[in-house]
């Protein structure tokens, strides 16, 4: 798979990395987009709230009550202001933070795995993490475990379920690090296995499907500050460690033998990157379910913009993933405010045309 997908390096090929200026411009544009989207996202929801009141709530709560007044004096009474505050500060803000960090996690993970396996088709879910998470969640419902505590245990079971296939691939990498095709196919096989287990569980207990559908469709609803915090910490810590491997990933593209010859321990680097990607993705999936396309497309888009240097691709892919998921989520809510469209649907609808345009536009490196 990888051998087919990866273009061999030829002598005399023109370096394809963009200039630092281009990198800076793209980074700035993405950061600006992120800031704008964060502000807009707080305004978007199934129920309209006065924009000035929303910003007043953000200012007041965000400053710990030091700045501004609650609801900017726009709420008709204190009780209404209290509810508006809960809607904005305790529901919308955690949701947009989860969208931001989940997008970053998936994109970062996708870029890392594409580089580690030297396969442009890789995304975080190719290793079976999504079906593992869904299977983990379905265990909770199929066997009616801890009925009163299912809400708390749901992300835990999903997280553990997602870790299982990732850890198997990680273990396989101890022996087969030099053979990325074998590792990817291991993930594909595990994905099929967990999908079959999930289908069996749902067949035995169809009512459990209602709850598990959350993982299968992807959903940014029902987020909390704790979830946002856990995800943020995981992405920032795990992500920064991943980005540190940018140079090694660059060298790995030349093959494990070449990498070893220039001092990169290919086997160990591969294992560490699989481990980090798995953990980052598993935390995201546990809270949001399966959101497709972000992990696949974000690194490619960034690569088209700034070239293939992983030191640049990885951080920018994280930024792009955050912007992309946040934007897709907002778009879905604006277009269909009465329906909580699973966020995986708008990511694909919005992302595919854009991705194809970037691939085939005049002057694209892909042409």
């Amino acid at each position: 798979m990888g051998a087919v997908a990866v273009r061999p390096v030829r002598g005399g090929e023109t370096p394809t990395s963009a200039s630092p200026w281009r990198f800076g411009a793209v980074a700035l544009a993405l950061l600006a987009g992120l800031v704008v989207l964060l502000g807009l996202s707080a305004l978007v929801g199934p129920h309209w709230l006065p924009p000035l009141a929303v910003f007043a709530i953000l200012l007041h709560e965000g400053s710990g009550g030091l700045l501004g007044s609650a609801c900017g004096g726009l709420a008709p009474n204190p009780a209404t202001c209290s509810i508006w505050t809960e809607v904005v500060w305790d529901a919308r803000v955690p949701t947009l933070l989860v969208a931001l960090f989940c997008g970053a996690a998936l994109a970062l993970s996708g870029g890392t795995l594409q580089g580690t396996f030297r396969n442009p088709l890789c995304d975080p879910f190719l290793l079976g993490l999504s079906s593992g998470a869904a299977m983990g969640a379905s265990v909770l419902f199929t066997f009616q475990l801890a009925l009163a505590e299912q809400a708390t245990l749901l992300p835990v079971f999903a997280f553990v379920g997602a870790l299982v296939p990732g850890m198997v691939v990680y273990a396989a990498a101890r022996r087969f690090a030099a053979n990325p095709e074998a590792l990817v196919l291991t993930g594909v096989a595990l994905s099929a296995l967990f999908s079959a287990l999930l289908a069996t569980f749902l067949f035995l207990n169809p009512s459990g499907g209602l709850q598990v559908s959350f993982w299968l469709l992807g959903n940014l609803q029902d987020q909390t500050w704790t979830r946002a915090g856990l995800l943020a910490a995981t992405v920032l810590i795990g992500g920064s460690l991943i980005v540190l491997y940018g140079r090694e990933l660059n060298v790995l593209q030349l093959g494990p033998e070449v990498a070893e010859s220039v001092g990169v321990e290919a086997r160990r680097t591969t294992r560490r990157l699989i481990l980090l990607s798995t953990v980052v993705t598993a935390v995201a999936v546990a809270f949001t379910g399966v959101i497709g396309f972000v992990g696949l497309v974000s690194p490619h888009v960034v690569r088209l913009l700034v070239g293939p240097d992983y030191r640049r691709v990885l951080p920018l892919a994280a930024l792009f993933g955050a912007v992309f998921l946040l934007g897709a989520s907002d778009l879905a809510q604006v277009i269909l405010p009465q329906i909580f469209l699973p966020v995986g649907i708008p990511t694909s609808f919005a992302g595919v045309p854009f991705f194809l345009y970037l691939l085939y536009r005049p002057g694209s490196r892909a042409r």
């Binding site: 199934p46 009780a79 856990l230 001092g263």
Partner: protein
């Protein structure tokens, strides 16, 4: 597109101080965000921590302990089975919102039959979107004092209502007929003002169940033939979908003195191959009819059954249409319908009850 970097890859040696600095900053940021987030979640929520003489603590059907206001004046109801109970206890006027698939065509009638909509005076104005996710902020903006739901509401949505908005959420999810009666007692705990009505309802439900159980026991001692029954809520692709062991549909057949041809199935809501139904030739076929609801129960109206159900004309048993909500929604109406089921299965022994089915 190339995944390969420059053919002259940069040296793998890192410029450690700069990278280390970046890592330290990001790790610190991560930890700070996590700590802040936990702080925001741990702040006491006025609604969730409220207690006092006007409140009581109940244990719901999932074993959750919930502190609720007594005689809540604003209720959100998230399932038709709960609405049935609320209506029978005279609490309809306190309902400020009901769950429905508002964004899909059909609106409130995707979840509530026309009979229910009319009887309970429901309208689209009460709709709170609950598919595919519950509009939790919509519930909060209605400022209910109590939310009553079932396990049809996802655990994530229940957690959001409780933890984010501090709303008391009670889950009514009975697993037996007796559990339905137990829910009447649970409601009476939360609404002491309804005690007289609740007591009467509980007694009436208990009597109906006792009568059915007595009749069923009498059948086995008298040696009366037990009719074989197919209770089906829909058909699709050559299969009749039915209620297997552990379902309320199975309980209805048992209590009405019948023997379900689906009793041996390993699944709760399994499809029975139509040809095996043809071979079984059940004595009674209770077929669930819907109100042309395209989303929830297949849209199989009586005319659809008679015209397109597999082998329909070759099934010789007595065919009785049943409002699919009666066999599906675990509420008092299900129990009060038992005399009609007894008549359907034993028309010579049990006279047709007077009046219309509940």
């Amino acid at each position: 597109m190339s995944l390969n970097p420059s053919p002259n890859p940069p040296s793998p040696r890192r410029t450690v101080p700069l990278a280390l600095l970046a890592v330290i900053i990001l790790v610190t940021a991560g930890l700070a965000i996590a700590a802040t987030a936990v702080y925001f979640d741990l702040r006491p929520n006025a609604a969730s921590t409220a207690s006092g003489p006007g409140r009581t603590t109940v244990v719901d059907d999932l074993g959750r302990t919930v502190n609720v206001p007594l005689n809540a004046s604003r209720i959100v109801v998230l399932a038709p089975s709960v609405m049935d109970l609320v209506y029978r206890l005279g609490l309809r006027d306190r309902v400020v919102g009901v769950g429905c698939t508002a964004g899909l065509s059909g609106g409130i009638e995707n979840e509530y039959s026309p009979n229910q909509t009319s009887l309970w005076n429901l309208s689209a104005a009460l709709c709170i979107t609950d598919y595919p996710s519950l509009d939790t902020s919509g519930v909060a903006l209605l400022t209910p004092e109590l939310v009553i739901a079932t396990t049809l509401t996802s655990v994530a949505d229940v957690a959001t209502l409780s933890s984010t908005y501090g709303l008391p959420v009670v889950l009514l999810a009975p697993s037996t007929m007796e559990g339905i009666v137990g829910d009447v007692r649970l409601m009476a705990e939360m609404f002491p003002s309804t005690a007289p009505v609740a007591n009467a309802l509980e007694a009436s439900l208990g009597q109906t169940l006792a009568n059915a159980t007595s009749f069923d026991n009498g059948l086995s001692t008298n040696g009366t033939a037990i009719p074989s029954v197919l209770l089906t809520y829909g058909f699709y692709s050559g299969e009749y979908y039915t209620y297997g062991p552990g379902t309320f549909g199975q309980s209805i057949i048992d209590l009405a003195g019948g023997s379900s041809i689906a009793a041996g199935l390993p699944l709760e809501y399994a499809g029975l191959n139509a040809s095996s139904v043809l071979l079984d030739q059940p004595s009674v076929i209770l077929y669930g009819t819907s109100w042309n609801d395209p989303y929830l129960v297949g849209g199989q109206t009586p005319s659809v059954w008679t015209s397109t159900a597999p082998y329909w004309s070759q099934l010789n048993g007595t065919k009785v249409p049943v409002d699919v909500t009666i066999a599906t929604e675990p509420d008092p109406t299900m129990i009060f319908a038992l005399p009609w089921f007894l008549h359907d299965l034993h028309p010579t022994l049990v006279p047709l009850p007077s009046g219309l089915p509940p």
